[in-house]
């Protein structure tokens, strides 16, 4: 008899090995799954879908599902224990935020540390026991600044053109304090030794209260991107005075300390072989390099991967077509939550285009064959010609950025050992299709979905004395793609499928 089983988390593609009888709650907690009712089984907020195998399932569990009007393909994570190998889908959470549970090497130390990933959209923090390296608490939240614009440029606009900088700083610091207080309270009131915060350049400036004006127009270079230290008092934290709070420095222009942390997480600065790190978000940050030299850039991919600007696009939540496959002549769609399709999210869009390129419905220039100018996926959901154009812009920008950085360093595609994909969206994509559409032109076995590398790197830096960060900063150069005269031609080539 096996006493350990594998929990397979889809669509993250993560495998976790746990002892028999482990509460599912413990497994999912570190992935940012929330338990709104505190694990009583009454809110259904932690529901997961069983794709293969099963977890413990008893009469009580069954009646809870019935009360919640959920069919029996669902399980409530808070009521479940691991009893065998199982594959679960956890993509249906409306507030799904990517935390991180990757193992990493560390030097055990005394006390506790907190890693904080301050994203444009979401905020996630973990409390770490520095002796064991274990995550003992997680808090997630939506960035309250989002009410003043979804992307970094609209935050800059609000801060600079509408005089909203102080408001944005206050909002984010308040949320930060609330989350830290909760983490500490739930852990029984411990006093952290340090808190490491990472985020993109705009988040850095807004958190640290630095003037964003230089980030509003060319050359988008800020003189104030360095590390910022705070005392707990300055941030309104009711914690021990000795806690050192640091926002890690940015790498240049729009490439922030979330990417710095990502470089740390991939081990790029120590690797002999060249590596690539890609964050497939709206800003499309790209890093290429090895222990000799590292280049980074942002390619401004746009929000297509997040489903924005797509006619029936939506985030990866219930009702979204999250994958599309073809068997023989039939096209199959997978809908998150197995409900009626309401729209399509980024991963579904990539799959759909890959599939229709195969069937010939879309040609290599991106044109939909025939006169209708649309492709029906389900009776409700269809793709338009413009959706495909949006995807071409986004994938063309990312592919061009990678190509330019790689070529600048003199590496051929074969020289690259691994491509690490970070970010929430990156965790959901089908790698073969990513290659088929020419987004990441590398063999699938070289591509590694790494999840939240910003949080992982921030966590790793809790154990560091700063040498590794200094080493990365010294080796890394930001490349400004807008001054590259070949961008247009490379971009055009990379827009083709």
């Amino acid at each position: 008899m096996k006493d350990h089983f594998t929990v397979h988390l889809e669509p993250l593609g993560k495998k976790v090995e746990v002892p028999e009888g482990t509460p599912l709650k413990d497994v999912l907690f570190s992935y940012g799954v929330e338990f709104p009712c505190g694990g009583k089984g009454i809110c259904g907020g932690c529901r997961v879908k069983v794709l293969k195998g099963d977890v413990s399932f008893d009469e009580r569990h069954r009646s809870l599902l019935e009360k919640l009007n959920l069919d029996f393909s669902w399980r409530l994570a808070c009521q479940s224990y691991v009893t065998g190998d199982v594959t679960l889908e956890i993509g249906q959470f409306d507030t799904f935020i990517l935390a991180d549970s990757s193992p990493f090497l560390f030097k055990p130390q005394e006390g506790y540390g907190i890693a904080f990933d301050l994203g444009t959209t979401t905020m996630v923090t973990q409390l770490v026991n520095l002796k064991t390296g274990k995550v003992i608490g997680v808090e997630t939240a939506v960035n309250p600044q989002a009410q003043h614009g979804a992307d970094v440029i609209s935050r800059i606009e609000y801060a600079v053109l509408q005089d909203g900088q102080a408001t944005l700083t206050r909002l984010v610091r308040e949320k930060f304090a609330t989350m830290i207080h909760r983490l500490i309270r739930k852990a029984g009131g411990i006093a952290p030794e340090k808190i490491v915060v990472v985020g993109n350049t705009v988040m850095h400036h807004l958190f640290c209260g630095r003037d964003l004006t230089p980030m509003a127009s060319y050359p988008f270079e800020t003189p104030e991107g360095g590390a910022c230290h705070f005392t707990p008092e300055e941030l309104g934290l009711k914690t021990d005075d000795h806690t050192d709070i640091e926002f890690l420095p940015v790498l240049g222009s729009f490439v922030g300390s979330d990417i710095l942390a990502g470089i740390l997480a991939t081990g790029m600065a120590e690797s002999k072989d060249p590596l690539i790190l890609v964050d497939l978000g709206t800003n499309g940050e790209i890093v290429v390099g090895n222990r000799d030299r590292i280049l980074c850039a942002s390619t401004a991919a746009g929000p297509a991967f997040e489903g924005t600007n797509i006619h029936m696009g939506m985030r990866a939540t219930t009702g979204a077509i999250s994958s599309v496959t073809r068997s023989e002549e039939a096209i199959r769609v997978h809908i998150i939550g197995n409900e009626k399709a309401r729209g399509i999210c980024g991963s579904g869009l990539i799959d759909a285009i890959a599939v229709f390129l195969e069937t010939g419905k879309i040609d290599i220039g991106g044109r939909i064959k025939g006169e209708s100018g649309r492709i029906d996926l389900t009776p409700e959901v269809f793709l338009t010609q413009k959706d495909i154009r949006e995807l071409q812009l986004a994938k063309g920008a990312v592919a061009s950025g990678i190509q330019i950085l790689r070529e600048t360093l003199g590496f051929a595609p074969e020289d690259i050992r691994n491509v690490y994909v970070s970010g929430a969206f990156g965790s959901f994509i089908n790698l073969e299709n990513t290659r088929r559409i020419g987004l990441l032109k590398y063999p699938a076995d070289k591509i590694i979905k790494m999840g939240n590398t910003a949080l992982l790197g921030a966590k790793m830096s809790l154990f560091e004395n700063g040498d590794k960060i200094r080493d990365i900063l010294q080796k890394t150069i930001h490349l400004s793609l807008e001054t590259n005269p070949d961008f247009q031609d490379i971009f055009a080539e990379n827009m083709i499928f």
Partner: protein
């Protein structure tokens, strides 16, 4: 005889610059815009006929496909390259005055912004519609527009912006242009813009795509 102009129209639209260019794959080894233009002129077609009946027509067709979503940026850029290859043969006649252009358009991406691909496409289309284009590149300040206007006082000014933080710079530039030269027509475009924004900043015309811009310009010539 008309055959060669039709052929030229097609290679411009399909983006076949010259015989050696590998694009598009199905026209490999065939004559491109470069060879066909030279040949048409040698056959006795006037430069103006070549321009109007082949080049402008080819660019117009690709512009229509682009507007309808049938073609996209790569195809447009290839068509523009083919047009450029043809223009090499026509340009000497502009200088000698035997071919007249419809007028001059000064184009630039606005100050603070370096997104120039959209602006380039529009510039190519306008040139392909028979206008002289003075392209000031990206990050264009009022001073640069003014200097160009001094050289071409009758020119129309076209501005592009891709950032919501830089499109606001169009307002100041438009106001200053109108101050020093009230008769100058200012045309604006770029992904984050709208008709409302255009009206707000006092510009004369907004187009969401290149086709709209060339049609507007052509209408100006007709009404003049």
């Amino acid at each position: 005889m008309v055959d060669i102009l039709e052929k030229l129209t097609i290679v411009v639209k399909r983006g076949k610059a010259d015989k050696n260019s590998p694009y598009p794959p199905d026209l490999k080894g065939q004559d491109g815009a470069d060879e066909l233009t030279a040949e048409a002129l040698k056959m006795g077609f006037t430069p103006d006929e070549v321009l109007q009946k082949a080049l402008v027509k080819g660019m117009h067709l690709i512009g229509e496909d682009f507007s309808a979503g049938r073609a996209f940026v790569p195809e447009m850029l290839m068509a523009a390259k083919a047009m450029k290859a043809a223009m090499k043969h026509i340009e000497p006649f502009f200088k000698s005055g035997s071919v007249k252009q419809k007028g001059t358009v000064i184009m630039g991406t606005v100050q603070g912004d370096l997104h120039d691909i959209g602006k380039n496409l529009v510039a190519m289309m306008i040139e392909g519609a028979g206008w002289k284009v003075v392209d000031l590149g990206s990050d264009t300040s009022f001073e640069k527009f003014l200097a160009a206007l001094e050289e071409y006082p009758d020119a129309i000014v076209g501005m592009s912006a891709l950032l919501t933080t830089t499109m606001v710079n169009m307002k100041g530039i438009t106001e200053k242009i109108k101050e020093v030269s009230p008769k100058t027509i200012v045309m604006v475009g770029g992904a984050p813009l709208s008709q409302d924004f255009c009206t707000q900043i006092g510009a004369d015309f907004y187009s969401p795509d290149p086709q709209g811009a060339t049609e507007y310009l052509d209408a100006l010539v007709k009404s003049a």
